[in-house]
Every structure is written in C-alpha cells, then in structure tokens.
Amino acid sequence: MDETVAEYIRRTVLKIPRDEIKTMLQKWGFLSEAQLQNINFHQIKENISQEVVQLCEENCADIKQAAVLDIIYNHIYQNKRMWSVYQMNKKGEETEIFDLTDFKKKIKRQLRTALKNVTINFREYEDNAIWIRVAWGTPYTKPNQYKTSYAVYHSQTPYVFISASVFRSNLPLLCQALVVATSYQDIREMELRGHSLSSLKDIVFRRYSQNFQTHCPRPLQERNVAPENVDLRIIRENKTEKEKIERVNWEVFGHGPQPKLEFAQYKLETTFRSDPKMHILDKKEPFRCMVKFSSPNLLESLKSLAPAGMADAPLSPLLTCIPHKARNYFKIRDKKDLLPGGFTSP
C-alpha cells in the first residue's frame, strides 16, 4: 500500500472521535466485520489508527477507498465546513432525465481534461444528494488529499452546495464541470453562506416553517402552559404590549425553529439622516458602513430581540427577509425614487 495512502487513512481516523470510529468504519465497509472485531476500540486513538492502517494494508487499500472514508467523515461532520450556495439556470423548459452514471462520467472528463492531477470521488445519499469530493493537484504535482473541495448536488434541483478549500482558483473549473455535466446553461454564486448545510438546504428548498398569512395563531393565553402567578398583587403592566410584540414576532418569523445561520453581513451605502433640528451631517454622499451580525443561531437570536425589549416589533425587513431571499450578504442603497425612508437591496 502506498505510504501516502497509509498516512492519509491514519490521519483521517485520528480526526474521528473515539466513540464514533467503529460506526464509521462499519459504514465504510472496507474492513470486514471479522477484522473490525479484532480491533480494540478502547485504547488510545493513536493505537486504534495504527491497527486500522495495518488492516487496510492487508486489504491493499488504495486512494479511492481512503477518499470514500473521507467523504463519510465529512458527511457526518459537515457542519465543520463553510458552505456556499450556487444556483444553476437553464434557458428552456425541457427537463432532462437525470442519469447518474452519465453525470459522473462528464464531471470526471471535464476535470481531467483541464487538470491532469485530480482525485475525484462520488457518493450518493438520501434525498438525491450526490457528494463529490475533489482533491486538487497541479500539472506537476500529485493531488493534495488534504486540500479537498466538496460539492453537494441535488439532482432534482438547480442548487449545488460547495465547500471550497484553499485552492479557490479551482472553483471556476469545478463550476464549469457541474454546468456541463448537468446540461444547465450557467451557474452563479448566491449570497448565502454558512456552516449548517442542512439549514442552507432548508432555506433554498423552502423547508423551514413559513408564515402563512391565513394562519391564525392560537391566542397566547392557551399557549401559556406555565401556571399563572396566583398572587393578585402582582400585575403585569404592559401585558397587552408584550402580547402584541409576541404575536407580531410570530407572524414575521413563523412558528417553527429557524434555519441555522451564523452570520449576516450588510454593506450600507445609504445617506445619513438624523433629527432635522440638529443639522448633523446633511450630506448627499452615502454614510458608508459595514454591519455584521454573528451568533451561534442568528435567526433565533434576532427573533428574541423584540421580546427582550432591544428592538421594535416587527423587526426590520432587512433582517427578516434573510430566509425568504435566501441570502445573508447584502448591499443596501437608498431607494432612488419617492419614499425617503425606504431601502433597496440589489
């Protein structure tokens, strides 16, 4: 077995948390059940990985099998990577039957014609997701297995989710290959990025809970499970106001859990306007700002601002439009026409 392959397998196993190693090797299916029984999974990871490498040696593993193990790891720990969303479009309305074998052949051909040294692997998952792993080399060097790009294509949709690696210069090549292999016309990067691949899918596939205008939420009194404080001396002064804020919030954000995004970025190029009495900075030029919101779960966080008293309800459409518009990068300029307070986002 090639030494680089052995080292690569060793390092991949070391990345896996100890309790997960056995399950992942079973999913991989390259080592037999009998071989797996012989490994002591209670020792330190260094030793486990050594034993795995030895067994792979017996089975004559090559880079293809090692790559499959890497795909399995990255599929389970997909949230460790940063994903960008790409959308393809086609001119006509003809829908072609998707042929997986043809697709794979075309991808390989496209990439290998352009760049001799690439390692390309595929794996299909549920909900029509095709995972494509590409390890990039140069005309003079072998592919670097540690610098890989991943593309996840859902065959019934025009969307591809790409986690590029350090070699961003290879992205156009990958995009071109995808367009050719899927018979679309072109591909563009959407302004949507995040770590949670499933949340990005929820947003573009519209799988998160939408707020339907006809839906009437149950009155708050029914929803309130916790027993009311029986002490009649305690009165909540702004009870109606609080309930109004809650209701407006629910209308805007919907009832279900929000898709998980980590940040939203706004480049503001609007003019500065303040209280006219103060004569502050009456300039026509834009007041240039960059605002970035970050949170472990941004949309849930924004949803809780109005009830916490830190924001008006409803929250600004600039924030609430994130799932509908499927983007978290914005450029905001003034509306050029009538309404002085409005904004457009191109």
């Binding site: 503001l268 960059m290 924001a311």
Partner: protein, 354 residues
C-alpha cells in the same frame, strides 16, 4: 521665552458621570458643564476660572515635554496586544536601583521555578530579566518615567551568540497622572498603569514580586462602555493622512437565548465628518458631544434594523489609532498618538485605584 505648560488635558468631574468628589482632590470639581478630556488626545482643555494653558500642540499626542521624542524607541510597543492593570503607588521605589531590581526579580523567578511554578512542560530555560526606563512616555515633567521589564530566555541548544528570545514584556507608566502623584507622600512613586504582553504565569510572578517588594496592589483594569464611547469619539476625530481602516464598534448581547454580536464599522472619513459636525470647539470635548455622536450612530443603525444599540453593551472600539476592549485589552497602532492614548488609560487606572 515661552514657558511650556503642562499638557494636562484631563479634567475630571460630573462629565464622566461619576457623582462623588474624590476626597483628596479638594474642590477642583466644576459643577455642571462637564468639560473633560482635551480634544484630540494630548491637547489641553480650556478651563473656566483657570487661565488658558499652553496651546494645543501641533502634533497630537506630543505632550509639552522638553526634548525630542523618538518614535523608534517606542515602536516595539505598537501592534501588540496589551492587557491592562491598575497599580497602587509603589513604596520606596528608587529609579537608581533598576539593575538591583532586575537581579532580584531574576532570582525570584528562578526560585519560583525551583518550586515548580512558571515552568513550561519539559523545558528548562534560564529567564533573564532586563529593567529599563522609557523616558519618552511621559505626559509632563512631573510624571514618573515609564518602567520597562523584559523577560527573555535563551534555549540551551542554540549557539552562544544567538539572540535571546523575549517571552514577556511588561511596562509601568504614568502619563499626566498629576491627580494622583501630586497628593502622594514622599516615599511613594506613582506608576498607576501597567501593560503586559506575554504568558500569564510570568505576569503572576512579576506581579507577586512587585507586590511584595513595593507594597502595591495590581488589579485588572476594565473599561466601561462609557469610556469606550469616549475613545470612539476622540479617535474618530483624529486627523489621518492616508486611507485608514474603518472605525469599528463591537456590541455584545449575551443575555439572549442565543447570544448575538454586532459589528458596526464606519468608514473612517465618514466617522470623522460626523464627529466634526458634532464637536463645537476644537481642542475640547464634552460629554454631550460624545452622547450626540453615539446617538447619531445608534439612530442610523436603528433606521435600518429597528434594533436599539443603546440597549446592548459596547465591548470594543477599534480605529486606525488604537483598539480597546472592555476586558482591559488594548493595541496601539500609531506612535504619534501613543502618549495621548496612554493619558486616557492612566486616567482610567487612577479612577480604579481611588
């Protein structure tokens, strides 16, 4: 010959929102008004009853100090992350005995290492201590010269003539600290601000030695959102020649189910333009002006996002001049403003001590 007055651009009082009068300051407080801080750091404030002191110096931050200031000598202080401490006055510290102190501190560190503290796993290194003065970092003649401590190690495997590796830097300073220093009894030295860059284990040991030797007390210096907004206003107004980085304010909202951080960065020119329309008198800043400046930024933000930044916590301010974090961490980016920023930080350290 015109006598250079003290560039004491600092005035305390109701301006900074603290109600009480500090006991040993007597009646220096001015009711209402709230003039405080010279305009661009380093410029003197214009007082009511007291006569106008020296002109605002041409180069901001160059306090009225005789002799030339060499930016090269303090260049090593720039672009490093410094953790801040306030230090109570040192008892019987003698500037002439610096080499003694260096030796004693070195011996103390060696002893602590014998005890098993301050040891890097598996590495036996001799720690050398260098103690020196930084005379450039003074606000006025009355200030004590800054004191620099440098801990360096030399790997036993390296060659004889190789350079020592600096592993820890700490310096005490006092810039325009008259408020504290002029009321001190004889034997006390006023160096209220301590900045450190390096491993915490060394900081603990050096601090321990100073506390033991000079009967002083170190405390982490935190910076309130109020002080941070002052820094934002002051630094936004400073003149910059070349295209500079934006003014960035970082707000934190920790008490939500999912914590939220908001970074609000404004183009440096636009921030300065805004400050210039707010500031009424050059060379002078008032609390009201800082409030108006911040309110403008908050309302511009609210107009877009409907979020009240005033309800969140300002935790960091970063400009082309310096950056400061509420945990008491600063970075200096420009030599010419170094003294000005230190003046501000000295003031904060003194407030924390008193």
């Amino acid at each position: 010959m015109r006598r250079e007055g003290r560039s004491n651009g600092v005035r305390r009082g109701a301006a900074r929102g603290r109600a009480g009068v500090r006991p040993w300051r007597g009646q220096r407080e001015r009711p209402g008004g709230g003039r405080a801080w010279g305009g661009c750091p380093g410029a003197p404030a214009l007082d009511g009853p007291e006569p106008v002191r020296a002109q605002a110096p041409a180069s901001p931050g160059a306090a009225a100090l005789p002799g030339k200031r060499d930016p090269q000598r303090t260049a090593f202080l720039l672009r490093k992350q410094w953790s801040l401490y306030s230090v109570t006055p040192l008892y019987r510290f003698c500037e002439a005995r610096l080499r003694d102190y260096g030796r004693q501190l070195g011996a103390f560190i060696a002893a602590e290492r014998q005890k098993g503290l301050a040891v890097e796993v598996g590495v036996e290194l001799d720690v050398k201590v260098a103690v020196s003065c930084l005379p450039d970092l003074k606000g006025s003649e009355q200030d004590q010269a800054a004191l620099l401590l440098q801990l360096s190690t030399r790997s036993p495997t390296s060659k004889k003539n190789s350079e020592d590796k600096v592993v820890w830097l700490g310096w005490f300073c006092c810039v325009a600290g008259d408020e504290l220093s002029e009321n001190l009894p004889e034997d006390f030295t006023c160096l209220p601000l301590f900045l450190v860059h390096g491993a915490e284990r060394y900081t603990a040991i050096v601090g321990g030695w100073f506390q033991k030797t000079f009967d002083c007390y170190f405390r982490r210096l935190t910076i309130s959102p109020l002080s941070l907004s002052w820094m934002a206003a002051m630094w936004a107004g400073c003149k910059e020649d070349k295209a500079t980085s934006a003014m960035e304010l970082l707000f934190s909202v920790p008490c939500l189910p999912q914590p939220l951080d908001i970074s609000y960065a404004i183009h440096a020119e636009d921030a300065k333009a805004l400050w210039d329309t707010v500031q009424k008198t050059p060379g002078e800043i008032t609390q009201e002006e800082v409030d108006v400046f911040m309110d403008c930024l908050y309302s511009h933000f609210h107009r877009h996002f409907k979020i009240y930044l005033s309800a969140t916590k300002l935790v960091k301010v970063s400009t082309a001049i310096a950056s400061a974090h509420s945990d008491g961490i600063v970075k200096f980016f420009q030599s010419q403003y170094l003294t000005g920023v230190l003046m501000l930080l000295t003031e904060l350290a003194i407030s924390q001590i008193q």
